[in-house]
């Protein structure tokens, strides 16, 4: 098991409030969200249902809705609205206006 690394994703301002953006880190796609509550969340970008792009989903109230078929995922726990579905969650934070992600390579 490898050590988590901290990745700088650049300024928070590159993501519009209430939206997500997809980053590709070492072959993994991560959807990073900039909540209207001012917080950042990061989860796996690819929907476990049929591969929908979660970064393009609608977010709010701690959830994101996949644009393809509307399955929902909790941004903090990764828990899905449908039985058996769950997404990976990456610890993320804002440091001096920059987004930092903890990433298990």
């Amino acid at each position: 098991m490898s050590e988590p690394i901290v990745v700088d994703l650049g300024p928070l301002a590159q993501i519009a409030q209430g939206q997500g953006k997809c980053f590709e880190i070492k072959g993994q796609r991560v959807a990073v969200f900039h909540g209207r509550d001012g917080k950042v969340y990061a989860i796996q970008h690819t929907c476990p249902h049929r591969g929908g792009p979660l970064a393009d989903g609608l977010m709010g109230d701690g959830l994101v809705i996949c644009p393809n078929h509307g399955h929902k995922f909790n941004l903090s726990t990764g828990e899905g609205s449908e039985p058996g579905e769950r997404v990976k969650v990456y610890p993320a934070r804002i440091v001096n206006g920059m987004i930092q992600l903890e990433f298990l390579a």
Partner: protein
Amino acid sequence: MKKQRLVVIGNGMAGARVVEEIIERSPDKFEIIMFGAEPYGNYNRISLSNVLNQTKTVEDIFINPLDWYQKNNILLYTGARVVAIDRKDRRVLARKLTDGEAAYLHDAPTRTRAGLMEEHYDQLIIATGSRPAVPPLEGFGLAGTFVFRTIDDCRHIAGYAEKCHKAVVMGGGILGLEAARGLLTHHLEVTVLEAAPQLMPAQLDQEAAAILEQSLAAMGIRVLTNVRASRIEGREGRVSGVALSDGRVLETDLVVVSIGIRPITEIAGEAGLAVNKGIICDDQMRTSDPSIFALGECIEHRGKLYGLVEPIWEQARVLADILTSSDPNARYEGTRAGTKLKVMGVELVAIGEKDPSDPADELIVYRDPYRRVYKKLIIRNGQIHGAILLGEIEFADTLLRLYSSGGALPEKHAELLFGSVTGATMINAKDLPDQAQICNCNGVSKRVIVDAIVNKGCSSVSAVGDKTKAGKGCGSCKGLIAQLIEWKRGQVEYDPRENYYVPGVPLEKSQLVAQIMQKHLTSVSAVFQELASGKEDPDSKTGLASLLKILWPKEYQDERDARFINDRVHANIQKDGTFSVVPRVYAGVITPQELMKIAQVAQKYNVPMVKLTGGQRIDLLGVKKEDLPHMWKDLGMPSGHAYAKTMRTCKSCVGIDFCRYGLGASIKLASVIEHRFQGIETPHKMKMAVAGCPRNCSEALIKDVGVVAIEGGKWEVYIGGGAASIIRKADLLCVEESEEAVVRTIGRFMQYYREHAKYAERTYSFVARLGVEVLKNILIKDSLGINAQLDERMQTAVDAYCDPWQEADIPAYPSQFEGPQLVQVLKDVENNG
């Protein structure tokens, strides 16, 4: 036989009416003597509001002029106030009032009979009515302060208003509002003060009161609620302002006080009759003295006081029956009466209770905030228990009649508010086989739904949906689900959430619209903040965004996070996260140059598939998000909106230009329609078509809007067609004589649909739900008188339109058109966190 002497105190609505009724029954039985404190014959007090607002003159409102009394041998003392009843000697004592002395003041009890008129009675009727309540307020009595009860009050107010600019009415009840409206016709700036949090608190619920307030504001009456006057300020003996409880001072030249009425009971009380709030009467209008009767506003009957004329008419009939012995068993058992506000420009009737108070009460509410219409009906035990009709009162008479008579209601209670409608009957789900699929979107069978109803306790459509997902897709099966619940449980429980416009804001569309307009909310986040306690429900965002765009064509703040990805990037998302690009091709007519351009762009960006669509467009599929703006720029064509809930396409046949059957210029008209309505936001997508003759090659009869050329240069306009998850043939809305008329009618329908449909409700559901006859009445006959407004609001939307693909040059938000961003992890950093 010697006539009995009947003395009547008070020559108002009740006194004069009972005398009329008596004369009608036995003209010769009594010698009638009347005392009236007002210096006139008898007049219709309720019309004073019309006198003040100048729709009637004082002459118009007299019921019985002075010579009527003469003709009927009635001795009338005008301008004379009875100051005492001497029951021992059966006499009344009266005093002639001096010129200008107010009719309803209170004389101190008299000890001396000097200078008083006296009349002996055998039977006595007290009909003294009531007087306006006067506040114990410093400054009341200054020149320019008035109450509103008599002709003289009315004249004084009107005379004084001549010299004034501003008026304050204290009291937001019926009389206060009628006075306010009257003052408006005297060109005053009018402010109404109401101590309660709302207008007409006795008759209206908060919602109706809020709409009423808007209607009054629209006509120029300012309303301040939740405030009291603490003092009336004066300058040189005249009113100059009103100081309010919150510290503000309103400048004003005139004050009308209308804070309630008090029964005039003192002479009865001083004579020893039983008096509570009013003079106490039994069911035969008898007071505690068997030869003294009373009726009208001065009485209290079975614990109730009335402030309306309808009870007076009934009391007068009963009392006349008793006194003339035409029906010695006549009884008055109380009146159930409604009230009507007589304010020009506002139609309002209120009946009975304003809110349901028993869980079993049936409640029907209808609102149309655009027209400020609100209707509410409360039914208890099969009887009308209360009703409010605001803005539209054509069925008020029936309601009032049923309310006062307690008559049986029609089977369909909603007909009481709207008149009867005939709806087509549908299949009943209970007759379907067990395995039949009810919800086609989520594939839920009848068996599963019935199981949820019978074994899992689901008694509302939404509860079934939560358990089984049935009805959670397009929603068209909800009616069937309701039938199943009714079948198994006898009754469908109403879950208010079912009617919310979006799940996260607990309001129906009409309520939501009213709140949004009232609070001037122009962004989705503002709606969450104000109407959902700040909770940002992601399921509610797109519906709210759509509605706000419709309500505020210019002011809408487009927070893109509230929009579906398609509307963020103006392209249709595909299963693999790529997008499609569909340029607009007006009426499906394209030039060779445009074709070449499209071909070049498709090649340059390696578009995986180029496909012709059913809407006569060219679809470039499989495009990466980051390529979108570049492709738009290279194409140089406007967006075709193939991704949005808007008017999408208007396809056309070749029509008169080439077709040998063509009757109308279908291409030209389709192009005009498409130019005008392109990109106009609608509750769901709208597809349109124009056909050059009834052969209908462009399939206009299965479109949301279809136009078909017919003989004589005319056009048929069809609405509500569709060939999607259901197939529905469109309904004929009208036949128009010109292309301009077609375009105008389409605009009206679209605007009405925009304002009234549920979010994501296609026109085929919307038209089926309302019925085309209803829409014909509204949109063609203009039965609601709203067409000019619909036209205007549509024009505003058209004017506000701009091509979203212009965002190619200036993105609307950071990273709008970025694909996955590659992050270089140069070296593994130690985790110092």
